[in-house]
Amino acid sequence: MPQPQLPRRWVHPALLAMVAVIATSGLVYELVTGTLASYVLGDSVTQFSLVIGLYLFAMGIGSYLSKFLEDRLLERFVEIELCLALAGGLSAPLLFKVYTAAAAFRFALYGVVVLVGTLVGLEIPLLIRLLQFSVDLKELVARVLTLDYVGALIASLLFPSLLLPKLGVHQTSLFFGLLNAAVAMLATFLFPLDRAVTIRLRAQCLLIFGVLAAVFGFVTRFVDRAETVYFGAPILYTAQSPYQRVVITRSPRTTRLFLNGNLQFSSDDEQRYHEVLVHPAVAALGRDPRSVLVLGGGDGLAARELLRYPSIERIVLIDLDAAVTDAFRTLPVALELNGGALNDPRVTVRNEDAYKFLEDSRDSFDLAIVDFPDPSNYAVGKLYTDAFYHLLRERLSFRGVAVVQATSPQYARESFWTIVQTLESAGWKTAPLHVYVPSFGDWGFVLAGGEELAAPGALRIEPTKLRWLESSGLPELFRFPRDIGRVEAPVNRLNDQKLVATYAREWGVFTR
């Protein structure tokens, strides 16, 4: 059977455009998988080099395999293009699905890389063979390979600057899948093929185009907001510690920290959070603080606020995760935010479990700043129990004051008051307060003291040293309007941890 061939001296400019698209999309898939790998598995250097290596190797396999394709090359070319559209286009959503569903992520990841690499590797030799009778070899190789490399350059420029920030990984991979499908469709118009074959291929193109478009629509609507936020701004730093995934993102204006996908602060408005966390507590203490215990707060932002008081001689900061404190001691963007607080000689950073620290320590502090992540699991939930607050009391000096970050009284009203109730059951006097932080919503804290505790009337620091809080604003912080006012709430005990369930229920409404 005679093979359909391209006419002599026929090099349609569209064909060359196709080469460029194939090359670009190939590299984009590689970057998408590399990004996902380093995001999920941490250690981006290893992940990127593994993905790149595997990908290039798979392209080699593809090139080798191309010699086994003998007949109907035009048809094969379109089919491979369609496979690539499907595999590459769905790679990001698929990997995300696997990531949330199972531990098989690594396998899926490397599988996708090899598959896409092999398909791309098949394309270029095939194209050269298709065109070999049309132009002379040296011209042909030069043009195709040039376009191939130009495509790579386009991809590597577009990906970090435009695609990732604007589209995110999902949409990027799907978009290029659609592009590949479009190329395949275009080919059915350019190539001299049988009618029947043309019809079949076009039907396939439409089908795959439809699938990709549907997923694109679905992803745009439903992908977890937090994940989109991740990829909405370029990731500056990621680390996977034994405890959590640490991600710092940076857009031109804003730096954000995420732990396990939960926003910890945004540089736009973190001053509101941290000024309210620290300064009312110092004011309530009613004397100059000398020693302070900070539990959590590995970003050093609370420490930054504390260091504004010259009376403070010593801050002991306990944060479980060295991945966080190391980042906030060294990264320029972090130092810009916390002013190098963690490197200050008055600050001692210890990476250990706060509960364990309280059990073992015999030290005593004027002030305790308790700034843990929200009680979204049982391990963190332990740090919100009556037993924990009992231990905390033993670490405070006479008339010492503690302040506890207590999630949002607006989104998690019962959770907030459970924390208040639990502190009180452990013998603390409390003064709850809250502040509106645009990135988070209305946010709550609890001032707690062993002895009488009054809401402070004035700050103990010159307002010019602060960015947001002023003395006249203090009473407002302690006023709880009716819709976030006190509700009856249980004590959060170690052997029950009602707070974890309450918290999940209350926040579930907003994150689902």
Partner: protein, 531 residues
């Protein structure tokens, strides 16, 4: 087991066997109870001792909970108390291990918050600082750190983990209805009092009502009771079976209905603090209680001492004959009184004249496997993980009560051999090589943990040939709640076999009772009873 569960089990078992052999094999060994030496008593292989005897005021045979409790009770009297213990470790079936990422149990792993009637247990807990004080109603207040932290348990049911032991949302209507019915009955039974004004079930069990209506439950098996009451739900039946195996190491057909219902309705303490878990849990399990008893006991313990016989001699003394298992040398110790704190079958051989009066107990064999693992931290990990319809009872996490998160921990797996053929099961286990037991454990856990083999660095196994008495129908005997304590004037018996139910409170009460019963023979006053 439904088809899907069956297929996952098969598939997972296949993976364990075929995919993973390439992995470096995990290390491990069989440790524990010295079957070989112990059988010397049975086979009469012990020579008669010669040479001069040691002397002591009291000899206690066995350093289990019962023996150590007897020593603890005697401590205020300031006597010379000598404990002879066969094994190299303390605590008998409540012993523990200290190696690895956390201390871990080798047997008993929790103590439910004791009823006010378990006065000896509360006294010890108060000495340990676990009971922090008493509320206005006279109920104990516990150190919250010792109560099992949430989440206490989770169940692997139809391919996924669910919180708690009962996956409420997964059950079908029939299962749910019967579980509700049973739970209502359980609540009612917990409150019920007999004609004599005592609660129908109490711990220690000797304080239970003697009302013949409830004692009649001891004549039938739990299985027969379920049939009689028309309980047919597969989940409920599994649930009851799980409880029988967990507490008594026996299938429902092997357990007295009185005993099984006692398990469900024996706990009376209700305070707001116990709203969540009412289990007292330490990383090393009840090994913590063993340490607490032995620290306060003021007795010398000789390990590797196999007691082979007791003989009354002149001068109001008892000769305790024993074998030093290291050099197989026969020894003897003369004492003014002896507590035999060993199982009934051992006591019968040591003191044949009391043989006929001692109860006959069937004891279940168990295996306990300690798996040293390293794996990703799960912040929502439960203390107790149970697999529905598995062969074993699941596992507990030794690090659960430690607040510090760690990727390394020790998981303690339990399996009871609950069928009627205890002798066959015991023989099979004693000769089984480590590889076989380890493989069985992995296979049993594979549906939930196909990856476990890769996470285990070491798995040690303990085979308890005679782990605990089985409260079979009729175990309360002709005269319920009147335990045999004094075998003669100077020899008392204490052990879980005495009540016939292996619980910390029972063994402890048994040891205290034995010590108090010997006071006249010793010519001492021990003050008012601790019971």
């Amino acid at each position: 087991m439904d088809r899907r569960a069956f297929l996952t089990t098969v598939a997972a078992g296949w993976m364990v066997d075929t995919i993973l052999p390439g992995k470096a094999p995990i290390a491990g060994r069989i440790i524990g109870a010295s079957h070989g030496v112990g059988h010397l008593v049975r086979d009469g292989g012990a020579p008669t001792p010669s040479g001069p005897p040691d002397r002591a005021d009291v000899v206690i045979v066995g350093a289990g909970i019962a023996g150590l409790s007897a020593a603890w009770r005697l401590a205020p009297a300031g006597l010379d108390v000598r404990v002879l213990e066969l094994e190299q470790f303390l605590g008998g079936t409540s012993t523990w291990g200290d190696d690895g990422a956390a201390p871990h149990p080798w047997g008993a792993h929790y103590l439910a918050a004791p009823n006010p009637e378990a006065r000896a247990a509360l006294r010890l807990l108060e000495q340990m600082g676990v009971v922090k004080g008493w509320d206005a109603a006279g109920r104990p207040r516990f150190d919250p750190r010792v109560l099992c932290h949430a989440p206490q348990e989770r169940i692997f049911y139809r391919g996924a983990w669910h919180p708690g032991l009962v996956p409420q949302d997964e059950l079908d209507a029939h299962d749910r209805a019967e579980m509700e019915r049973f739970s209502r009955f359980e609540d009612e039974l917990t409150e019920r009092v007999g004609a004599d004004g005592k609660p129908v079930f109490q711990i220690p069990l000797a304080f239970s009502s003697r009302d013949p209506d409830t004692l009649a439950l001891d004549r039938i098996s739990m299985r027969a009771w379920l049939d009689r009451e028309g309980y047919t739900s597969p989940f409920l039946r599994w649930y009851v079976r799980y409880a029988c195996l967990d507490d008594f190491g026996a299938e429902p057909e092997e357990v007295s209905a009185w005993a099984a219902l006692h398990y469900f309705a024996g706990r009376k303490l209700k305070t707001p603090e116990l709203d969540g878990s009412h289990f007292l849990v330490w990383p090393e399990g009840n090994g913590k209680l063993v340490q607490a008893l032995s620290e306060r006991a003021r007795a010398t313990v000789t390990h590797g001492a196999l007691v082979t016989g007791l003989v009354a001699i002149e001068g109001g003394r008892v000769e305790v004959r024993w074998l030093d298992v290291r050099d197989r040398a026969p020894r003897r110790t003369h004492a003014r009184a002896v507590v035999v704190a060993a199982p009934a079958f051992v006591t019968r051989r040591l003191f044949p004249s009391a043989a006929a009066r001692l109860p006959t107990r069937t004891s279940s064999p168990w295996i306990v496997a300690n798996m040293h693992v390293e794996r990703p931290i799960d912040p929502d990990m439960a203390w107790d993980s149970v697999l529905y319809d598995a062969a074993g009872l699941g596992y507990v996490d030794a690090r659960h009560q430690l607040t510090e998160l760690s990727a390394r921990t020790v998981l303690t797996y339990y399996r009871a051999y609950g069928g009627p053929d205890v002798v066959g099961a015991r023989k099979g286990l004693v000769v089984a090589p480590w590889e076989q037991i380890a493989n069985d454990v992995l296979r049993d856990l594979a549906p939930a943990h196909p990856e476990l083999r890769e996470q285990i660095t070491r798995m040690d196994v303990c085979v308890w040939g005679h782990a605990m008495p089985r409260p079979r129908p009729g175990f309360l005997g002709e005269q319920p709640f009147e335990p045999l304590v004094l075998l003669d004037e100077r020899v008392a018996w204490a052990h879980a076999d005495q009540p016939g139910m292996a619980l910390f409170e029972e063994s402890q009460a048994s040891g205290v009772r034995a010590a108090e019963a010997l006071a006249p023979a010793l010519g001492i006053a021990l003050g008012s009873t601790w019971l």
